[in-house]
């Protein structure tokens, strides 16, 4: 049983690393992650990389939707903006990758502010519609503005390199993604415990009350849109470098729904939730595939019937299941398990 967790001040209560043990475990975990490319199967590395990109995008959406309470059905638009900005800067201007990815985030954040201002008046359903139509507009632009985005032919990306060292292969790019994930997670974790983060939560919980106690709604909603889309844009930039090829079909409304699924399943309004959700939804298609093959062995009429649709159907079913049964998501389950062990043997 863990003891000596008295908090004597507010500062202690909001510390990022609560105890020495937490620090120790996290250091061990990061060290473990750093060693992954040395021993892991290439496929595992590939999956971790994809999960990392998803985690960044989901974290951005969670800041906007989970913390600030603004529903967004257009997150894929920001990912697309980031991805295409990086791709165009890299292919047309030949800029290095450490410039292209923040530039992608910056452009996405700029559009986030542009979208944020007119959306200030909207709430709930109407906001969902507005962000959805923004997503559709960006999707059409990316598809039809052929002179810039190459349309449905897609863009091929050059390999990333830093100081003359190629970062092209999965194992090396793993470190790039890991660095971004750690940096952005730490930034988000710090953000939500500062004035800005508390203002976000206040807006989510009761906007009128927030305004009354001195939270400038205009300012903080726009900040939230900007940060969220910056995360989306960075994820898009990383995605374009990692996959090496961009196609408009990757950025449909389905991707937005997938990000929504990540934060609902992972846990709304928590940084850890976005991490759980991003990893879970990246891994689950493989689980479904294995399960479908297993089913196919026993039920002959299901053999070879597996396709992408099974994944999407499962995402939909999971969204509904979690909203009805476990609204706090995987993060809530994790919290319960932790409490259970922490208080053992005095669990009641």
């Amino acid at each position: 049983m863990r003891s000596k967790t008295f908090r004597e001040s507010y500062r202690e209560d909001i510390k990022v690393f609560q105890t020495l043990w937490v620090k120790l475990w996290l250091t061990t975990f990061v060290a473990f992650l750093l060693s992954v490319p040395l021993w892991a199967d290439p496929y595992v590395i590939y999956m971790i990389n994809l999960a990392g990109v998803s985690v960044i995008a989901a974290m951005g959406l969670n800041i906007l939707t989970g913390f600030t309470g603004q529903i967004s059905l257009g997150h894929s638009a920001f990912v697309a903006l980031g991805a295409y900005t990086s791709a165009i800067l890299a292919t047309r201007l030949g800029l290095p990758f450490w410039l292209c990815i923040p530039a992608g985030g910056g452009v996405a954040a700029f559009f986030g502010i542009l979208l944020g201002f007119p959306c200030l008046r909207l709430k709930g359903l109407y906001l969902a519609m507005a962000t959805m139509s923004f997503g559709v507009v960006i999707e059409y632009t990316v598809t039809h503005w052929e002179s810039m985005t190459m349309g449905v032919r897609g863009i091929s990306m050059p390999k990333a390199s830093l100081l003359g060292i190629s970062l092209g292969d999965d194992a090396r790019f793993f470190y790039v993604i890991l660095a971004f994930v750690l940096l952005l997670t730490l930034a988000a974790k710090n953000l939500v415990r500062t004035r800005v983060g508390r203002a976000f939560v206040a807006i989510r919980d009761r906007d009128i009350a927030a305004e009354v106690i001195g939270v400038n709604l205009t300012q903080y909603k726009v900040i939230s849109f900007a940060i969220s889309s910056f995360y989306g844009g960075v994820a898009g930039g990383l995605y374009s470098y990692y996959m090496g090829y961009l196609h408009p079909e990757n950025f449909t409304i389905l991707l937005s729904i997938e990000y929504i699924a990540m934060i609902i399943i992972g846990g709304m309004g928590s940084i850890l939730g976005a991490i759980f959700g991003g990893i879970f939804l990246t891994v689950i298609p493989d689980v479904i595939k294995a399960f479908a093959e297993l089913l196919g062995q026993h039920l002959p009429f299901l053999q070879g019937r597996y396709d992408e649709e099974w994944n999407i159907a499962t995402f939909g079913a999971l969204i509904m299941l979690f909203l009805i049964v476990e609204p706090t998501g995987l993060n809530g389950i994790w919290g319960r398990i932790k409490t259970c062990f922490k208080n053992w043997p005095f669990t009641y």
């Binding site: 529903i71 305004e211 929504i260 999407i312 995402f315 939909g316 969204i319």
Partner: protein, 297 residues
């Protein structure tokens, strides 16, 4: 009549035909929103399933069109009851975000499930209407579109009367207005919700059957509902006449923009509806005929 005017009139008529389809779809949204304050994002999928079930009855069991339609309607009604009971009822009292998201989850679930069950190929719906279009002084319109207009008009009339005079319709409006008060007045809110979803799903099935007559019947049919959002928002979420006017406006605008601008700007046609949606949300979020909620924040 010179060529230019004729082209414009033809676009106008085609636009009205497409618009009446949007209006039919929009009606279903309005019905659910009026009674339960939920915007059902899965409406398009229900439409598609209606079309697919009717197609199955027509082709695999070779049932006559009228009977197939009626069986589909009954199926949709019970499908609506089931959806309400299993998915929407646990959400009573939950924040709006959760309710929006659960219908989105339902929508992608239903879409992929129908993809798995019915397959992805395009199906040719055996149309009961005459194939030869009506030609009036060089302006062309198909029989199906005329039927769609008639059915939409009939449905609107019936719904307007239903909400105004019938006991059930009145209790639906009461529930929409204030659930607690409605309960105190002896209205069973649960039963009203179930009825609303059943009715809305039946209307969606009607729209789906007509849509599969004029469009390709496949999984993409559900995307028409996304195109109907601008119509609902433009007309106002609570307004039955608004749905019709919004639907017709969006249909006409889209066709005219497509007719004149598509050569210069490919994709302009598809984009129109969403640009309108965005502008309406900026300027007048409650639409032309909706209730404005005044709130100063």
């Amino acid at each position: 009549m010179d060529e230019g005017t004729k082209y414009f009139l033809q676009l106008l008529i085609s636009g009205l035909a497409v618009g009446s389809l949007y209006a039919l779809v929009a009606l279903g949204f309005v019905l659910i929103y009026k009674a339960t304050n939920i915007l059902n994002f899965a409406h398009g999928e229900v439409m598609m399933i209606g079309g697919l079930v009717c197609y199955l009855l027509l082709t695999a069991f070779s049932i006559p069109f009228i009977w197939a339609t009626l069986i589909t309607l009954v199926f949709a009604l019970f499908f609506g009851f089931l959806t309400e009971r299993v998915i929407l009822r646990p959400m009573i009292g939950q924040p709006i975000f959760a309710v929006v998201m659960i219908t989105i989850g339902l929508s992608i679930f239903l879409r992929s499930l129908s993809g798995i069950v019915f397959g992805h190929h395009n199906k040719i719906f055996p149309s009961p209407f005459s194939e030869t279009p009506i030609n009036f002084k060089g302006l062309v319109l198909s029989h199906t579109h005329i039927w769609i207009m008639i059915i939409s008009a009939l449905l609107v009339l019936m719904l307007a009367l239903f909400f105004k005079y019938s006991r059930t319709g009145l209790s639906m409006r009461g529930v929409a207005n204030d659930q607690d008060t409605a309960m105190l007045m002896g209205i069973s809110v649960k039963r009203v919700f179930a009825l609303t979803w059943g009715l809305a799903f039946a209307i969606a099935a009607v729209a789906g059957i007509f849509l599969s007559n004029v469009m390709v019947l496949n999984i993409g049919l559900s995307l028409v509902a996304i195109k109907a959002f601008p119509a609902v928002i433009l007309g106002g979420l609570e307004s039955v006449p608004g749905a019709i006017i919004g639907g017709l406006t969006i249909g006409v605008l889209e066709t005219i923009v497509g007719g004149y601008l598509d050569d210069m700007m490919p994709g302009a046609k598809e984009l129109t509806a969403f640009v309108v949606l965005f502008l309406v949300l900026m300027v007048r979020p409650y639409g032309l005929f909706g209730k404005s909620e005044i709130e100063r924040v």
